[in-house]
């Protein structure tokens, strides 16, 4: 994987370390990063994007503790061997949680009844 594959938006309300973890999660879930694939070094990512190396380390550390990445001796970080297939529905569902929270908040602000929102959502999901 190349460091340029990550997209960093400093002005976003999302802290940079979370932007990185989130992108790794999606790239791995979508199979764009295969198990065993080598990740760019902390230095490469920090250098390419001109961001603080500690931010990158922090993101890698979180991804490692979530089981997305594995540290390989003398090599660096690689995509963990066990992922998508072994991810339970609950784990995949958790990835959707931020969007669901946002949706709920917007619906509340617009004072929309839950059943109307659910009807629409059911329709979209069925399509």
């Amino acid at each position: 994987m190349d460091a340029s594959l990550l997209i960093i938006q400093p002005a976003s309300i999302e802290p940079i370390y979370r932007q990185i973890v989130e992108q790794l999660r999606r790239l791995i879930a979508a199979g764009q990063l295969a198990p065993g694939e080598l990740l760019p070094s902390v230095r490469d990512v920090a250098g390419f994007h001109a961001i603080n190396p500690m931010t990158v380390s922090r993101a890698y550390g979180i991804a490692e503790s979530e089981g997305l990445l594995e540290r390989q001796r003398g090599k660096g970080m690689v995509v963990a061997a066990t992922h998508r297939t072994t991810q339970t529905q609950n784990q995949r569902m958790a990835l959707l949680e931020p969007q669901l929270q946002a949706l709920t908040r917007h619906a509340g602000e617009l004072e929309l009844p839950a059943d109307a929102v659910l009807r629409r959502l059911t329709k979209l999901l069925g399509e």
Partner: protein
């Protein structure tokens, strides 16, 4: 050996109770600030907030009304040559040694620094398009600051202090400077203090931020924490009585509604009013956060 251990125990920069005023107007009203080795502190504030004054006072270039600063454990106003060799400072408008050419100045200054990196000077001069044989006095303010940034970085300082470094650089050179700052902090443990207007620069490389506003430091914490800990709470007019009394800023809009910058409590909860029906909590980017507070 003992001397080395003692040295390591000292923070690169530690200031206490700093106060200063110009013509009776208070600029700094009791600033406390400490920098851990390897940290990158982004100092932000409006024009005239006193950022340059704070930097100059902390480096002993200005005698403050009250308070004191220690740089590597030494009083800022009486730094030894050995301590000075570990520091590099780039002012907003460098003026020193203007009668020399860029090359002459760098050759001359380089002799004072044991770690001087002549290769870095050569390659960066080229990349940043500095003509080595022009007199510093004849350079534009931007070129002049670029030469001074090269001077500062080439000395491989342990403490690097930059006052509005981005103003003089085009986007490509700016990115390059940020990369240098980020990698040196991460790999060589360089401690960096820089002031800037450009919030996105700060969000990239800073490990922590401090916001200088009305003579005080607000929100001195890590960049990530700032984004997660503060938000804007909006309450419609009829609910403005429920607004928490403590907030970093408070603005009443024409329609009677009210906006406040609020902070999570120790348990990570927003103030109670945020849970009321009709209330809105919006996460803010740093720039919006500053505008919200500084306005």
């Amino acid at each position: 050996m003992n001397a080395m251990l003692r040295e390591q125990a000292h923070l690169p920069l530690e200031t206490r109770g700093l106060q200063h005023c110009y013509e009776g107007v208070n600029v700094l009203c009791g600033i406390d600030l400490a920098l851990e080795p390897g940290s990158v502190l982004g100092l932000i504030g409006r024009n005239g907030a006193g950022k340059s004054t704070l930097i100059r006072a902390m480096l002993g270039l200005l005698v403050p009304l009250a308070g004191s600063t220690q740089v590597f454990g030494e009083a800022a106003l009486k730094l030894s040559d050995a301590a000075k060799a570990r520091i590099a400072y780039v002012p907003q408008q460098p003026e020193a040694l203007a009668w020399l050419t860029a090359q002459q100045m760098l050759d001359y200054v380089g002799r004072f620094y044991p770690q001087w990196d002549a290769t870095f000077v050569r390659t960066t001069m080229e990349r940043w398009q500095i003509q080595p044989n022009r007199l510093l006095a004849k350079l534009s303010p931007g070129e002049r600051q670029r030469v001074d940034l090269i001077r500062a970085l080439a000395s491989q300082p342990e403490l690097l202090v930059l006052d509005e470094p981005a103003a003089a650089l085009d986007p490509v050179a700016r990115r390059e400077l940020l990369r240098e700052v980020a990698l040196r902090a991460g790999e060589s443990g360089t401690t960096v203090l820089f002031s800037t207007h450009i919030v996105s620069d700060l969000e990239r490389v800073a490990s922590e931020i401090a916001f200088l506003h009305q003579g005080k430091l607000l929100m001195h914490c890590s960049v990530d924490e700032t984004k997660e800990r503060y938000a804007r709470l909006w309450l419609p007019g009829k609910m403005s009585a429920a607004a928490p009394t403590e907030s970093l800023s408070r603005r009443r809009h024409e329609d009677g509604s009210i906006s406040l910058v609020v902070e999570r409590d120790a348990a990570g909860q927003w103030p109670q009013a945020a849970g009321l029906a009709g209330a809105r909590v919006d996460a803010l980017g740093l720039e919006d956060l500053f505008v919200e507070i500084a306005e």
